[in-house]
Assembly symmetry: D2
Homo-oligomer: 151 residues x 4
């Protein structure tokens, strides 16, 4: 597991007539979180795409837990994990940055690693190590020893 | 259960640099589907809000099953159901309108019925009947007879 | 000049906390109008791109004249003209579809015709004829006769 | 005149299939700039709305000067001025943050100051002083002396 926390503000464009943020914006913020996580780990996602690895989304889930209004400062924590040989999973928690850090939304997304022709690829070890953290590193080592891993 | 099917086209604004529609747009399309379903049933959602009933979203889920590009004609089917006393559930299936109607995405959303102050309300019978279909109608009748309903 | 009129509804996602549509949505609707205009003329914009012609935007202008709310049915009229050898201009008028058709917004956009490498191209005659209408057709004929055209 | 400069990154959600940012995003970035300018001047726009002053948009213009891709770091400079008694004008310049700071887009927006019922209001002196800078301050003083100002 790798993890990253950052803050951002709700834009006026992201509100709707109910006065809170529009629900689909959560998925846009999840994507910002993936960008910031990969940058924080030293290999921004732009670099992934240059090296021929793409991360389309196959599953997204959001739970809306509280309201957030225009210009509110929010705190996002994103955590990555490796799900078997070919999939990455990211979990998201969005809170108000101000104490008592009331919960706004949580969610997760699931992504295969594919090439430019959208063909699924085995997750390369550098991604496994970068996003999967210590356990993934061990698993990657084992794997290089020829030990099979159940998906 | 009530159900409605309609077609729409992918806008240029809804694509991203991968060339397919951006993932969060699915949640926007789900919302269009709820609008069209309520209109098809004779009471558009604008009328709900005028009568003091709001449908915030507490849970959203999307599975991405295929690609869809700018200007593709898609076919959305939305189906509503009543989940206990206070929640509505909508299920969505998006396909290409052209044969063989390849699947693009599926998903569901869950909504409590609340008043303007965001306090949960018991689902009024006209909504239960409208969105829940024949079984819900029966349930609503029973309910009026004083029969308890498990949530 | 070529012209096309169609109707569309304001989506919930397009509102903001002021209760009317968010200003940037006008530019998205302008783009929908260009798509619908090209389709109405028999060569959808997807076909343009397949043939190697792209229409990036170099200038956009919007005047906001009235409000429009969620689910309001709006009527868009888009009119194209050819501006010299290399640029197309589109003008937009958005009104409420219901009488007395109150004005919502007007605007225009300017687009060079470019190839896939974003190099400006002389507007091909079929586009000049399609979007510029009868006068453009005459101009295109003259042009084939070797008559110079001032930009 | 008041002015503010800040940086931001292009989100994946803001790209389109041409690979650069989608044109309407410029207007969303303009709005982020107004928020950041008002915050930098000590009275965030949320405070304006609480005090009963709203800034709808009546005119928006954008010139697209160059491309910007996903994750590019951009630098926005926004400058405000007071246009007569009832309107504010903001000008925007977006460049790449990296040298040689290539131009991406420029634009302007025009806003009346209105109350919650959307009725135009004379710009209050604190706004005139905050957004109009030294000359506006002088003008505001004169104005309090009873000197007329041409709109």
């Amino acid at each position: 597991m790798a993890s990253h926390t950052f803050t951002f503000r709700v834009r006026y464009a992201e509100t709707d007539q109910m006065g809170t943020f529009y629900n689909a914006r959560a998925l846009e913020w999840f994507e910002v979180a993936r960008s910031e996580l990969s940058r924080s780990l030293g290999v921004p996602y732009t670099e992934w795409e240059k090296q021929g690895f793409f991360l389309p989304l196959v599953e997204a889930h959001a739970n809306y837990k509280g309201t957030a209004r225009y210009d509110d400062l929010l705190e996002m924590t994103v955590t990555s994990s490796v799900a078997g040989h070919v999939r990455l999973r990211f979990e998201y928690v969005i809170r108000h940055a101000a104490e008592p850090k009331k919960l706004v939304a949580t969610g997760y997304t699931v992504h295969p690693v594919v090439d430019a022709q959208m063909r699924p690829m085995r997750i390369p070890d550098w991604i496994r190590t970068q996003l999967g953290g210590p356990e993934a590193e061990k698993a990657a080592e084992k794997n290089m020893d020829g030990t099979a891993q159940a998906e």
